[in-house]
């Protein structure tokens, strides 16, 4: 096997130390690795350094807690490559991305469907409005188109259902409406404060998760190791974000089955959690809280007490609500066996986060590739296996409890430590030149992977972001197959995926 094995998360490696193979070796090695259940692809992308294309692949190994990195560099005018997706379906989205941006045909790929109509796509003549959706020529089926603008106050995307009566035969999801060109802006800005603020808007509902992925990546490039309390604070912030969203999602699930008491009680609890984040850093979404090198909002003894006290109350009240929700046979009958997915489907989709863990697939970066304080926590993820709306709802309740335990443990440790050691952020860190960095964070949706390559001058030349939604949108499309179309909103809420995180 020819790869560089990265054992830390985050970490950075000189480009020269990454084995570069021919495509046949690359292909065979990738297929061999991805056939093993402990491996999955974190990212696959192309760096274009003017006269040379280099395709990097990052494969996470859960057994060894490492990331395997290698590359291939075909001729610059390469037109086609043999598709890996044909053998390992989880690669489908990465090959589609590369196809869209560079025009390379992946022979044998099942469907080279456009990903997001990026502004620098290869085929500029292709237009979003001209996209031809998959259709079935039959008088017995009808199509339902929804979006890009949806009924509620949410982000845009288009859903095209092919239905037979009330049943969904096929759902095609077309995204890209949210494409802001954010990846390119990282390379243009070359200023750590600007990049840091930008990372918070990759998906604003995951500001802490993405800002953490960015900040720890910058630190890996600068070979800076954050002080112990900073690592703890960051983990607390990340878990607070998770708790807030999980409660909010429980509200949304209740709303979609017409259970108003559960909805409003959870909405009010989410408000309590995000207002706690606001009391800590001045912003309900934690914007400004996570910065490279240090923090502008070190936790004080008083703030630690506020968080502990608030969460005690939230915990008590959330238990009262979930006791009601998950003991109500009317609700359970609307959750069970709805939108069910199998472990095989999750593996094939490259599913991450709750979407994977609810099908029995143990994917959790906090457990497999511990970052910040997670190494000392001996954290074990909650796993359910029914793969339906019930599992995706219940896993939020279980994760709420796990996150609460993490926060309490870390705050207790911090309360007994010297809190005066905090350092301010450093926006002048020097990044190692000609280096590839990898940073993975388990955000509330799942695996966030940021990778970046620096040029000779130590400036960001390429910034590749992967939000967990990139994989999980396919899970949603599969979940509604064979379901009644009226169950779509419920299935959709049970995933709560990001549009802007996908569209970038």
């Amino acid at each position: 096997m020819e790869y560089y094995e990265m054992v830390k998360n985050p970490d950075a490696v000189s480009l020269g130390n990454i084995p570069d193979t021919d495509y046949n070796t690359f292909y065979k090695q990738t297929v061999d690795l991805l056939k093993r259940k402990e491996n999955h692809c974190l990212n696959y992308f192309v760096s274009n350094s003017g006269n040379r294309l280099r395709f990097f692949i990052l494969i996470a190994n859960d057994d060894k807690h490492s990331v395997l990195i290698y590359s291939h560099s075909p001729e610059n005018d390469i037109k086609r490559l043999k598709s890996i997706s044909a053998e390992c379906y989880q690669m489908h989205i990465f090959e589609r991305e590369i196809h869209e941006d560079l025009g390379i045909e992946f022979t044998g790929h099942p469907w080279l469907k456009p990903v997001r109509y990026s502004s620098d796509r290869f085929d500029q003549s292709s237009k979003m409005s001209g996209y031809l959706f998959y259709s079935i020529d039959s008088e017995e089926v009808h199509e339902v188109g929804v979006g890009p603008i949806h009924a509620g106050v949410i982000e845009p995307g288009h859903f095209r259902f092919i239905c037979h009566g009330e049943n969904v035969l096929h759902l095609e999801i077309q995204l890209g409406y949210q494409h802001r060109g954010i990846g390119k802006l990282f390379a243009e800005k070359n200023n750590l404060l600007q990049q840091s603020v930008l990372s918070e808007t990759i998906a604003g509902d995951t500001s802490v998760g993405h800002a953490l992925a960015y900040s720890q990546l910058a630190e890996a490039f600068a070979e800076v190791n954050p002080v112990s309390n900073l690592k703890k604070e960051r983990a607390v912030a990340l878990e607070l974000e998770r708790i807030a969203v999980h409660i909010g999602d429980t509200a949304a699930l209740c709303a979609d089955v017409g259970y108003q008491i559960g909805q409003v009680a959870c909405e009010a609890l989410r408000t309590m959690v995000i207002n706690t984040t606001q009391d800590w850093c001045g912003n309900r979404f934690g914007k400004g809280l996570i910065r490279p090198g240090g923090t502008n909002f070190p936790l004080s003894k008083e703030m630690i007490e506020v968080i502990e006290k608030r969460l005690d109350e939230v915990n008590l009240r959330f238990h009262h609500v979930t006791d009601l929700v998950y003991n109500n046979s009317g609700i359970i009958s609307r959750f069970e066996n709805i939108g069910a997915l199998s472990l095989t489907q999750a593996l094939m989709s490259g599913a991450t986060g709750m979407a994977a863990r609810s099908t029995g697939l143990c994917r959790d970066i906090r457990w497999s590739h511990p970052f910040q304080s997670f190494g000392i926590l001996h954290y074990k993820p909650a796993i359910l296996d029914s793969g339906d709306v019930y599992a995706r709802g219940m896993i939020r309740k279980l994760e709420f409890e796990l996150s609460l335990a993490i926060i309490r443990k870390l705050l207790l440790d911090m309360a007994g430590s010297d809190l005066s050691t905090s350092v301010r952020p450093d926006y002048n860190m020097k990044l190692r030149p000609e280096t590839l960095g990898v940073s993975i964070v388990e955000g509330w949706r799942g695996e966030i992977c940021h990778s970046s390559i620096t040029g000779k001058d130590g400036k960001t030349a390429l910034y590749k972001i992967k939000d967990p939604s990139l994989h999980n949108w396919l899970m949603l499309a599969l979940a509604v197959r064979g379901q009644e179309i009226s169950d779509f909103p419920l299935c959709n809420k049970s995933f709560n995926l990001s549009y802007c995180g996908h569209d970038l």
């Binding site: 009924a151 404060l193 808007t201």
Partner: protein, 251 residues
């Protein structure tokens, strides 16, 4: 039934009784106050630091339409720049988002710019269609929160509706992506006249950090009159509700 009683008892009264004066965290970043004793050197330093180009390099004023409320300028010049927790920062004239050194006191809407029919027709019921056009979902979530059990803007007849045909105006979030430009225009045209346009969040007001990105298309914003600017990153629900109340003339 006892379980439901417990939840209702926990829940208690959640609604914010007075949306005009509801206190928020002391460190919430709303309206900035800038000292008029900034030296040229200090102005140069903070304007170079500002990640979104919101600080004027000559005058030292802060444009809330560009500001991402990161607080870095206040940390660089403590005592000279500070962010108050005043969330009533919505305006109806773009220039009024620029806060000058020495400027104290609340920002207010210019009453003379408010169209008569807006007040007459929408004072008791304002239905809005929200369009996210590259928004990062934080502004969208705050707009949803504006109608939740805490903020409950529905008490004034203000609410979001599904169809533009039922709406009296649109609320835009995000810098307006090229891929959403057409859908936004179609949606706006589907709203019956008279109609209003509200921009929510820094990205919508100025393009924010996405200014100049080839994936962004500002044509719609640059070619329509805007009735209300609601700054923030994201805009706080109280900033939005208070702005709309001011626009409608609700005391």
């Amino acid at each position: 039934m006892s379980g439901e009683y417990k939840v209702l008892k926990d829940h208690g009264k959640q609604f914010v009784p007075n949306l005009r004066t509801q206190p928020v965290s002391a460190i919430f970043r709303g309206r900035p106050v800038i000292s008029d004793s900034l030296t040229n050197n200090e102005i140069r330093q903070v304007s170079e630091l500002c990640p979104s180009g919101a600080i004027d390099s000559k005058t030292g004023s802060i444009d809330l339409g560009k500001c991402v409320f990161c607080n870095e300028c206040a940390l660089m010049l403590p005592g000279k720049i500070r962010f108050e927790n005043d969330y009533r920062i919505s305006v109806n004239r773009r220039e009024d988002l620029v806060i000058r050194p020495g400027q104290e006191g609340h920002v207010r809407l210019d009453e003379t710019l408010i169209r008569k029919d807006v007040r007459k027709l929408f004072r008791k019921a304002l239905k809005l269609r929200q369009v996210s056009a590259g928004g990062d979902n934080s502004c969208e979530m705050e707009l949803n929160a504006a109608g939740n059990v805490n903020f409950d803007m529905g008490r004034y007849g203000i609410e979001f509706v599904a169809s533009p045909r039922h709406a009296d105006g649109i609320v835009i979030t995000g810098p307006v992506t090229e891929n959403m430009a057409e859908a936004l225009d179609i949606c706006y045209k589907a709203v019956p006249s008279p109609k209003i346009i509200i921009l929510v969040g820094t990205d919508a007001i100025s393009g924010g950090l996405f200014t100049g990105s080839p994936a962004v298309n500002r044509w719609f914003i640059n070619n329509h009159d805007i009735d209300l600017y609601v700054p923030g990153n994201p805009a706080h629900p109280l900033t939005f509700i208070n702005g709309v109340m001011d626009l409608l003339g609700i005391k």
